[in-house]
Amino acid sequence: MASALINVPPRAKRGEIIEIKTLISHVMETGFRHTQLGAVIPRNIIRRFVCTYNGTEVFRADLYPAISANPFIVFSTVATESGTLSFQWTGDNGFAVTESAKITVE
């Protein structure tokens, strides 16, 4: 099963810009490779990554086959209030993973 690693600072000052790192295990099969018998290996990628902060979307990425296996995404957001950051990956073959992280803002 897919597993995700998320790095969010557990606490931050109000208004501080925090860096978030995410890594998820996924083959990101491009759909351009062939087996040794010449058959095309079907595409299997994560198509979308969304990060919401207490329900509000703060970051979104549309991924294509040119993203490496095990997509690694780094972005930032402003720590506005204590709460939950939720991360969602969706892709081919019904792939869907949701993870969340808590943050305390002082």
Binding site: I17, I18, T30, F32, R33, H34, T35, Q36, L37, G38, I41, Y53, T56, V58, F59, R60, A61, D62, L63, Y64, P65, A66, I67, S68, A69, P71, F72, I73, V74, F75, S76, T77, V78, T80
Partner: protein, 158 residues
């Protein structure tokens, strides 16, 4: 030089003959590759027909890449990221990957800083282009030329 050229010709003909004899499976299939024109088309289909000005965006990409399967890519945009002036989106395209699209990042004033990183695949030595869309609708671009030693997408599965 002439010898080399004729040798190349011979190989070309020989592979053609082999394919003709039904030995096509033995001949390596060249992977699909987009062209710079296709990249321009892809850029237009994503950002529309507005003018793209070079500047404001910076691509950080190693100039020499040993393994095209995982190339660290960082894009930063010179923007204050306020409600009035922020980056709406950053799109990345390549010239010679099988598909020109790489990734689209959608940001907003909540991002605080316009800087994103990921890892991408590169199928060949080529130009990588980043286009950024600001909140006022203007488009800015940067491109980086990279040399790839081991290309992605070439190795076959089992």
């Amino acid at each position: 030089m002439e010898r080399a050229a004729s040798r190349r010709e011979f190989l070309k003909i020989a592979s053609g003959v082999a394919a003709g004899l039904g030995l096509g499976a033995v001949v390596t299939v060249k992977p699909a590759s987009a062209t710079p024109a296709e990249m321009q088309e892809a850029i237009r289909s994503v950002v529309g027909s507005a003018r793209i000005t070079p500047g404001k965006v910076t691509i950080e990409l190693p100039p020499l890449i040993e393994n095209g399967n995982a190339v660290p890519l960082t894009i930063s945009v010179d923007s204050s990221m306020t409600e009035a002036e922020h980056v709406r989106a950053v799109h990345v395209f390549t010239e010679k990957n099988p598909q020109p699209y790489v990734v689209s990042f959608h940001l907003g004033p909540r991002a605080g800083r316009a800087r994103v990183s990921t890892r991408m695949r590169l199928a060949d030595s080529q130009n990588v282009v980043a286009i950024c869309e600001l909140s006022d609708g203007s488009l800015w671009s940067d491109s980086a030329a990279v040399v790839v030693t081991l290309a992605a997408c070439l190795e076959d599965g089992i």
